[in-house]
Amino acid sequence: MTAAETLAGPVNPGSWQYRQLNARAPGLSYLSDALSALVEDGHPVMAGTADLQYSNGLARFAARYPDRFIQFGISEQNMVSAAAGIATTGMTPFVATFASFLGLLCCEQIRMDVAYSALPVRLIGHHAGIALGFYGTSHHATEDLAIMRSIAGLTVVNPADGPQLAAAIKASADHPEPIYFRIGRGQEPNVYDDLPDFRFGKAIEHETGTDLTIIACGTMVHPSREAVRALRASGLSVGLIDMHTIKPLDREAVLAAAERSRIILTVEEHNILGGLGGAVAEVMAEAGTKAVLIRHGIRDEYSLIAPPTHLYRHYQLDAAGIETVVHDILS
């Protein structure tokens, strides 16, 4: 059996679903393109998904490199364990499914077969947080950062947009640890231009401020940046840090911000327990900072269902909501 005979499954570039890929989720095209770039650079990478090649856009990669793609069908646990097996042969697998299924359903496979076994598997949890809106709680992932962060030996990254995801994937080529990439639904506006600087564990400081610093991750970086612009225009000294790597956390960036600002506000599309807010809280508490921490996100509840933009407004996770939260804190 040769690689060319591998069954990548049906990928029809002429199909309606395929033609819609870019229009529906432009941010996700960066995933396929970044993986293709690794293949073109000679890296032994492959991709796999569990019946979601149109949701995550990997159909683009599958059409380009059918001998580097595996369609696993609806069997996420099998996919994760198989990815670990693939990684033992020298191939670097990128396997993708909804963050809810990856982070919760496959938690033990990730712990035992991937992280504990120290195999360079790349796990892509897409449509994280409440991005699947009215599909319901089964499809929401507001626990995955907390779970993944507590698994030893796993790097946890939550890129802000497609370009940063592509930069992180490029940087992953010589990253020895397994990585959990937590990404959105690909409809977020871009924060960065193509291939921004990216180093695992090195936060990106957008603005510095003395009144308050927002530390945001993932899809919350863009609305936080919009909010910070408005707040600064109104005369407040508000800073912004993009904490794209949740683990290892950039402790220096947190402590520098806590030194400079009276208040740290974390913003995440995740439960305020155990994710970015939890990670920042641990650093600040252990260091005994004078700055106060306030965590903003989903407040230990199951999200309502609604179109995602409606949910972001409801939970004050859009730019206007974040701006209001900061005003309320500072007044």
């Binding site: 069954l7 580097r68 364990s81 020298g90 077969d113």
Partner: protein, 322 residues
């Protein structure tokens, strides 16, 4: 320390629902010295298992005894390995879904020169890499870690697919417990392996009939097992798991068939505790510890000498695994 066995139900080592299959093999093609060598290696597995568990003071004797001939045949006849090269990229792979039998595998890995034999003497002690379950990050020659039942067939399938993408051809053997058939992920992997035409994937079910809480077919029935694998698109072979000639013949035949497009499932009919009479008859021997006099009797029986009758009274006390 008295002989202990953690309780199990009434014995019926053959399990329920088994049907004898016609012997499809021709063991006479194996040289007598080959057969004798494999039988000696299986004895070595059992004796070393007893020696190592005496260090840990608790262990899975009977689960290891049921697959001693499988270990011996795989590691001394079927698998392509290189002495002292546990990471040779073209080696055949061996994964254990039933990782709790690793105590019987370690002596063979040491014999292959994958790690110093002296490590065996510190089995399970602080700082030693050899534990009850095999750990690929600690033990050279262990191709994949296990402990949580149900992952191994998926990982083995991943090795097949990774090898295919890397342009390497090797065979992947995955030994599964019969109780493991109850895990859903096994069947996800079984479906995927047939779909991916993983002809170089060989699952071996150690059908010893028991799991922790009792007889497999009373705890959660798995029959008709061969039909299940066939329905999932696998080629199925049923074989006496203690007949090294039959096992070697079957594994040789599977290895020679380079055109097979179906993964192969070998259902090995085995006896839990095989080789030590009172373990064969007593289902409680999933996890236990032998007192010195019982240990001597077990060794004598494995070596082919008559066993002492005054042995193996089950005791309610737990083995000292602390």
């Amino acid at each position: 320390m008295p002989t202990t066995a953690i309780a199990g139900p009434a014995p019926d080592p053959m399990g329920a629902g088994r049907t004898p299959t016609p012997e499809i093999l021709a063991p006479e093609i194996l040289a007598p010295e080959t057969i004798a060598h494999l039988e000696e290696r299986a004895r070595h597995v059992r004796l070393e298992t007893i020696r190592l568990i005496a260090i840990a003071k608790v262990g899975h004797y009977s689960s290891t005894f049921s697959c001693a001939e499988l270990f011996a045949t795989l590691y001394y006849d079927a698998m392509r390995l290189r002495h002292g090269e546990p990471r040779w990229p073209d080696r055949d792979r061996f994964l254990m879904g039933k990782g709790h039998a690793a105590v019987g595998l370690y002596p063979l890995l040491a014999d292959w020169g994958f790690f110093p034999k002296e490590l065996l003497d510190g089995y399970t002690r602080l700082g030693n890499p050899l534990g009850d379950h095999p750990d690929m990050t600690k033990v050279p020659g262990v191709d994949f870690s296990s402990g949580s039942i149900g992952h191994a067939l998926s990982a083995g399938l991943g090795m097949v697919m990774g090898g295919r993408m890397m342009g390497r051809r090797f065979d992947v053997y995955v030994m599964l417990g019969d109780g493991e058939m109850q895990e859903g992920q096994v069947w996800e992997a079984a479906m995927a392996a047939a779909h991916q035409k993983a002809g170089n994937l060989i699952a071996i079910v150690d059908r010893n009939g028991y799991q922790l809480d009792g007889q497999v077919d009373e705890v959660m029935g798995i029959e008709p097992l061969a039909d299940k694998w066939r329905a999932f698109g696998w080629e199925v072979h049923e074989v006496d798991g203690h007949d090294v000639a039959a096992l070697a013949t079957l594994f040789r035949r599977l290895k020679q068939d380079k055109t097979r497009r179906k993964p192969a499932c070998v259902i090995a009919r085995t006896l839990k505790g095989k080789g030590v009479g009172y373990m064969e008859r007593e289902a409680g021997w999933h996890l236990g510890y032998l007192a010195p006099e019982d240990e001597a009797a077990a060794i004598a029986e494995i070596m082919g000498q008559p066993a002492s009758p005054a042995i193996a009274q089950k005791d309610a006390a737990q083995g000292d695994a602390r």
